[in-house]
Amino acid sequence: MTALMDPPSTPSAPEPTPRVEDVPRSIDPGLPRSDKVFFGVSRAIGYSVFVLMGAIGLFLGLQSIPTFKRYGLGFLTESQWQPEKDILGISAVLVGTFTVALVAMVIAFPLALATALYISEYAPAKFKSFLVSMVDLMAAIPSIVWGLWGFFLLQPKAIHVAHWLHTHMGWVPFFNVDTDPNAAPWAQSRYAASAFIAGIAVSMMVLPMAAAVMRQVFSQAPIGEREAALGLGSTKWGMIRAVVLPFGAGGIIGGTMLSLGRALGETIAVVLIISPAFDIKFKPLEIGTSTISALIAGRFGEATSAQLSALLTAGFVLFIITLIINTLAAMIVARSRSGAQE
């Protein structure tokens, strides 16, 4: 206020008088009290979430120290999980985790790509928003429902597909199952509860996420280049291949990796379908496998504190893998988006 009162005297004195030197008045009014409170509170919230989330990550990381002290790097290479013999290792479950995720991605990737392309390029305009919300709905369906779907509806049918693949493509080691496919009553149970069936259920869970990312990037493909391609006489697929797919490459890769990160962590559908087994094998059609999350869900109950920290270490390893994949995916998607805006 005093600063406002002063100035009239300065211009009203034209003759040079010896005065105290002019100090520029601060024009910064400072923060009102409401803003101080607001900044303080929102900072507190932000920091508390930061601390909470950071503490979880730190806690998981610290829990793995005693595990690695006790079991050494053998924890990563040992395949058996036998608490009664004090043999704990996650190599078999790691292989199982990636097998299930691989099966899921092999199924989810082409279907997600087809769904995204259909919605952004082929679907009639009036159905587009409906189809987009259907993809969102698919993402919102609880994983336990997909588990029921996989266990009760899919498994009886998928057994036949697995048997069929084994019978006719068994020469590929990947499709092999330790049983005689041509035995008169073929052993149906050998094909059940496998990584293949769990992978199909997981693929349905992660597919909408990939499809949503892909569709979003496809829909940003520049209309001018689409019309240029069509105007030069290209077919629709020629246009998609020349414009939409190169433009959406980042979204395709990023969306696929995001859904891979989700596929690695899926629990309930896998627990419902598979029968746990702890041997390293690359036979997704055969009964028995295990994933890290299924291991945690199955073994947390009877675990002693040492085993609990071993389970937490397994969870930490899974978290780190997911984190790396998600970060890479976010970078790839972000790069493709920034290209879309120029």
Binding site: L31, I45, G46, L148, T267, G315, F319
Partner: protein, 513 residues
């Protein structure tokens, strides 16, 4: 239009529109006189019309292009005749710069004797083309959807050119030919028959799913083969890929529909009993008939747990998003990094964390509050990240307008930012609820499973819908599995209702703007 566009360009001083207009018109009239060499220059214009008006134009009708050019060339050339002074603007406004330059070059290339005479016209045409495209930038978005306007405006001018006075009917440019229909349905039926013979009669294949998968592959092969009989290879590829993409989308749709209907269909046995919604499972044997017991305890448990989790996750999540966007500062980026990293945390690991800290270390027994904590840890990053995205895409102009009017930061946030993004925040919240209520793994580890109604989250175990489904399915009892499907139906219906509400909120956002 010429004057305005010319004044905008830096080339304006060296270019006087008035004296050069006659040559430009002459150039256009020459285009109409000796149409033969000019015709290629107008091809992009003619082709541009069906493309912009209908993206799904029929590529198999490539043979019609010649007729279409001939039919469409007339209106273009007659425009200068009716209104000469606006002729350049008419032609160029429907052209891009490159096309206009090509058109200008095409006028001198074939007409050698007039080349020297027309050089000034070309010199005019080049800056004119630049200015036209600048001017055309503005209506570009309106030109594209209204691509069907040229025929109506051109038709009265075409009439004197044609002898007959029959009305101009727009040529259908979409649609499918008989060949398209016949090869599709023929291949579908043919592949079915062929595969039926091979699959069931000749080779010892079994399984209906295998048949359907092979039918799809056989159909695609046969469709490609049939198309190849009368079409170039590009069309064959286009048709086959289109069929494959449609089939893929159809499979996904089938999977979604089958999951929803299968759950409700299997759950209907339990859902028809009123006691299923009003009683709990206390004292009810797993083998008891469905008119005893119910899942009220699981429904109540789910609602209580998600309610507590959301009660804490919503203010913290939205507050974090506000901090990251409105307050900022160097730490905001670190917070955002951590929040994004935590969305990668698998839900089972979140559950295991809470189990270890709360139940094993701190000695809390398995209660509803422990389950709520696990759900909270799981949905906090989801809500924070979704709110962050919503706040980030909010137009900055609103914020700046509020601040420029003298509002403080807090007033801006409270009266401008949060009301503006409220539908988006509601969407984020409901997405978080839908994820949290359906996730089994956190509650599996933390809540225990009661068979009786327990409304106190601080003592005694508490059941929840996903956990009830999980345990009932694992029990192996047919009647108990039916109860599990009933509970899954309730869970699914809950998610569907939340989903519909989300859609409504997202739509009102558009309606209010």
């Amino acid at each position: 239009m010429i004057d305005r566009a010319g004044a905008d360009t830096p080339l304006a001083p060296s270019w006087e529109p008035a004296p050069y207009e006659p040559p430009t018109v002459v150039w256009d009239e020459s285009a109409s006189v000796d149409a033969a060499p000019i015709e290629p220059a107008y091809v992009p214009v003619a082709v541009d019309y069906p493309v912009s008006s209908d993206l799904s134009y029929d590529e198999s009708s490539s043979g019609r292009h010649a007729a279409e050019q001939a039919g469409y060339e007339a209106p273009v050339t007659t425009i200068p005749a009716t209104e000469p002074e606006h002729a350049p603007s008419h032609t160029a406004s429907s052209m891009t710069m490159a096309e206009a330059v090509v058109a200008a070059e095409a006028t001198i290339a074939p007409a050698d004797p007039f080349a020297t005479m027309e050089i000034p016209a070309v010199a005019v045409a080049a800056p004119a083309a630049v200015s036209f495209t600048k001017a055309a930038q503005v209506p570009a978005t309106t030109v594209t959807p209204s691509g069907s306007t040229p025929p109506p405006t051109a038709s009265p001018e075409v009439k004197p050119m044609r002898a007959s006075s029959e009305p101009d009917v727009p040529r259908p440019i979409g649609g499918k030919t008989l060949d398209d229909h016949a090869s599709f349905w023929g291949s579908l039926l043919g592949s079915f028959g062929l595969l039926w013979v091979i699959y069931t009669q000749l080779l010892p294949f079994t399984g209906r799913v295998g048949f359907v998968i092979l039918w799809l592959i056989t159909f695609l092969l046969m469709y490609a083969g049939v198309s190849a009989m009368g079409n170039p290879s590009q069309v064959v590829l286009d048709r086959t890929v289109a069929a494959a993409i449609r089939a893929g989308a159809m499979i996904v749709g089938l999977a979604l529909a089958s999951a929803v209907f299968f759950t409700f269909w299997k759950g209907i046995d339990a859902l028809v009993h009123v006691n299923f919604f009003t009683q709990d499972m206390a004292g009810v044997r797993p083998t008891a008939p469905l008119d005893q017991g119910g899942i009220i305890h699981a429904i109540a448990g789910s609602l209580i747990e998600i309610g507590i989790a959301v009660l804490f996750a919503l203010p913290l999540g939205v507050g974090t998003a506000v901090f990251m966007n409105e307050v900022g500062g160097p730490t905001a980026r670190a917070v955002r990094t951590v929040v994004e990293a935590m969305t990668a945390l698998p839900s089972i690991v979140a559950g295991l964390f809470v189990y270890t800290v709360l139940i094993v270390t701190l000695g809390v027994s398995r209660t509803g509050i422990a389950a709520a904590c696990a759900i909270f840890v799981m949905i906090l990053p989801i809500i924070a990240r979704a709110s962050d995205v919503v706040l980030r895409v909010m137009p900055g102009g609103l914020r700046e307008a509020s601040l420029a009017l003298g509002a403080s930061k807090w007033q801006t946030v409270r009266m401008v930012v949060l009301p503006t993004v409220r539908p988006g925040l509601a969407t984020a919240l409901i997405l978080g609820i839908a994820r949290g209520v359906g996730e089994t793994s956190p509650v599996l580890l933390t809540s225990g499973a009661s068979s009786y109604l327990n409304l106190n989250p601080f003592s005694e175990p508490m059941n929840s819908l996903p956990l009830f489904v999980f345990s009932s399915v694992r029990s192996g009892e047919p009647l108990f599995i039916a109860r599990g499907f009933g509970a899954a139906s309730v869970l699914l219906a809950l998610v569907l209702v939340l989903f519909v509400i989300t859609r409504r909120l997202a739509r009102t956002k558009v309606g209010n703007r």
